[in-house]
Symmetry: C2
């Protein structure tokens, strides 16, 4: 997995000292964003947190927006990885449970705050879109693999991703109780049963009526 990921990243001596420095910088940036918000992120503090020179931060991320986006996306990908065990139901339960845990963390809460305020601010919005696009793309890839193996019917995978992660985010942002593994089971089981039932049954619901009045 780690090897695959480094292959997909821009070649920058992956796996070596540079990769380790980059990771420390991203982790420090995520911590600072969680503490002070995106507006308060300062390169010298990132450098101090990562134990590197400020020039290392600037050299790797001349663009502040890219630094924020990479920090949040890396945090998300590390915290809620999407495995492919060949069993989509089981992998989704693992993913949703990890997503809930990650979203409850300081970095996760910071990301939720950014998301909520992003609509007003074009720069923030671009960051949030990119972070979500990456996460949704991973989820879509995993769902697509399940479709190709016949585990799931061919459906709108972006909507399916939203239906799986939306309840987790709402649950966690309310914070009235912990989102448990049993909750992850229930959400995943209901949504997957729903897309399978919708695909199996000759649909009589409004969905088709809306799309092709007949």
């Amino acid at each position: 997995m780690a090897e695959d990921r480094s292959k997909r990243e821009p070649a920058r001596r992956p796996g070596g000292r540079t990769a380790r420095v980059r990771r420390r910088i991203l982790e420090a940036a995520a911590e600072l964003i969680a503490r002070d918000g995106i507006g308060g992120l300062r390169y010298d503090q990132v450098a101090e947190g990562a134990g590197v020179n400020k020039t290392s931060v600037y050299r790797n991320w001349p663009n502040r927006t890219a630094l924020v986006a990479d920090a949040l996306a890396t945090f998300g990908a590390d915290a809620a990885p999407l495995h492919d065990s060949g069993d989509i139901d089981a992998d989704l339960v693992d993913f949703l449970e990890a997503l809930a845990t990650a979203t409850t963390s300081p970095e996760g809460r910071a990301l939720l705050t950014v998301v909520a305020s992003a609509r007003e601010d074009p720069e923030l919005r671009a960051i949030v879109d990119e972070v979500f696009d990456r996460r949704l793309a991973s989820l879509r890839d995993r769902l697509q693999a399940a479709v190709e193996r016949g585990e799931l019917p061919a459906v709108d995978l972006s909507l399916l991703g939203t239906m799986l992660t939306g309840p987790v985010q709402l649950f966690v942002s309310r914070g009235s109780r912990t989102f448990t593994r049993a909750d992850a089971h229930r959400v995943s089981a209901i949504v997957l049963a729903g897309v399978r039932a919708a695909a199996d049954a000759p649909v009589t619901g409004e969905r088709d009526a809306d799309e092709a009045r007949h």
Copy 2:
């Protein structure tokens, strides 16, 4: 509907001048919260926005937290009402579409921002909990009526409510495109098909294994 609601509220000459004044105050407060956030809400501005004396605001809401909670809850209930036409599938489509529209409005976005930052602040958290509890209670009541009529199996109605509204909120908070009536159809159809399929089928999923190892 309006008559039923006024009956449930604390008796304060419902339907009369006082009720109209209260409503104008709540609408003005919701607008100000949307513009300036909860921290910036000032009684004199609420009074000015509502066209009433400041004493009217204080007399009706001596407690600022209650004013904020009532303003946001009233906005939510007005903007996304839950009808009971006897057809749960159709009523949920109407509700989810209205919820998306309401959440996209300035007041709705303000509420999302409050939700995201509420975990850190006990007072905000209490407000958010109350607003969501009221909305979830209405949704639960409507789902419960459907269960009693045999339209839905008996399931965890709080989780079901989260599974219906969570995707809408995530969709809207990202804002990459409008949540349409067709989207409301799809979300509602998949979730309802899922709970019906999960109730019909002899479950082999992890959900039961998790709850009662057998």
